[in-house]
Homo-oligomer: 218 residues x 2
Amino acid sequence: MAERPRRRIPEATVARLPVYLRSLVELAGDRVSTTSSERLAELAGVNAAKVRKDLSYLGSYGTRGVGYDVEYLLFQVSRELGLTQDWPVVIVGAGNLGAALANYGGFGDRGFPVVALFDSDPAKIGTTIAGVKVLDQRDIPRVVQASGVAIGIIATPAPVAQDVADLLAAGGVRSILNFAPAVLTVDPSVSVRKVDLAVELQILSFYQQRGPNQAVGS
Amino acid sequence: MAERPRRRIPEATVARLPVYLRSLVELAGDRVSTTSSERLAELAGVNAAKVRKDLSYLGSYGTRGVGYDVEYLLFQVSRELGLTQDWPVVIVGAGNLGAALANYGGFGDRGFPVVALFDSDPAKIGTTIAGVKVLDQRDIPRVVQASGVAIGIIATPAPVAQDVADLLAAGGVRSILNFAPAVLTVDPSVSVRKVDLAVELQILSFYQQRGPNQAVGS
DNA sequence: GGAGCCTCGTGCATCCGTTCACAAAGTCTA
DNA sequence: TAGACTTTGTGAACGGATGCACGAGGCTCC
């Protein structure tokens, strides 16, 4: 057997792996031991051919005539996504959104423990939100470096987002999840993903205005 | 002149129009009256050819040798996105996320007034969050229909997301923004967009584990 | 052991989106 | 008015993603 297929996995496939993962967790919770690409497709909201092609990039983990072993596939997808280890995160911006994210327990449980919150407001610095201390924004590089934080979440107003991104990068963060409505410029070695509320609503507005088209998106 | 070009606008272009819109608002705020595709591309974080092709789907609004009139283009993009009118929204789920969304003023200002919050918890029903009354989830169809709500935002736990989506659809909502980590099944006439925190973090985890690739995405 | 059935894995055609490169069309200067 | 310069709008080539359709491989039952 080849030790590791090492095929390059298309970006579109990577984006779907977490959805398959969730479907597999659900199946495992229902004590299902084996599943088909058809069933997985149904749970993930895609078509079966796509499921098979996506999974084939990870290796040949199915059995023809039978399907996929849920537990085994679960492990393989987790490993491929790098979820066999924890990735500590920090949240910058302790406003409404930052606080909601910190309170949303789903992170720590799933391998993304929140190790610190940052803000620039002296009134907030020193308080505790969801069991996490709020620190001074200026300490980002030091804390991030000291704690080996891999992922930074930006939940600040747009005007300071770029400065925050620079601070995170200075501390050695290699991935940023940006909630601020601003385009970030970072070193190509840093991965950035953007979540923008206003943009999503405006896209819906477009299709609302038009006829009954459908728009499904990430 | 053709009354309306009425070309079909590609999905990828629609997703970028809000970003151009924001860039144009920024330029207008700086009292810039004319801009080039080059400059717009820089602000939006894409390349200039893409800007020109995207804008060309709306019509021929630029002037060769000069560029685009900021105010005029701003209006055209707004109109194309259906932002010349307000789209009332409701938020379902008055937990951390729902409350944060309601408190985040950016909605109402930008043409998406929050007309109601819904929850199933009797302890929350009747309270007021960010000036909006929390109503009983079971009243969704009635309230939505009565207020002509176009867009529903789902900020509930995953297990009830599908039920909520059905209630929204029953009330005549034609667009749904789904924050719950669940795949929704709805009539094709309803547009659904999904924002999933865990998925975003897991995608970052993948690239984190791999070499220094970059992943930019919405 | 063989026939029939099931489901994966994948080659191939197609579609959508991106990018290049250039003609068209306008401005500005002399 | 002519000629140089600027920037748009778009045809065409390219690349990535999708979906079909089918061969390969494995199971079950007689």
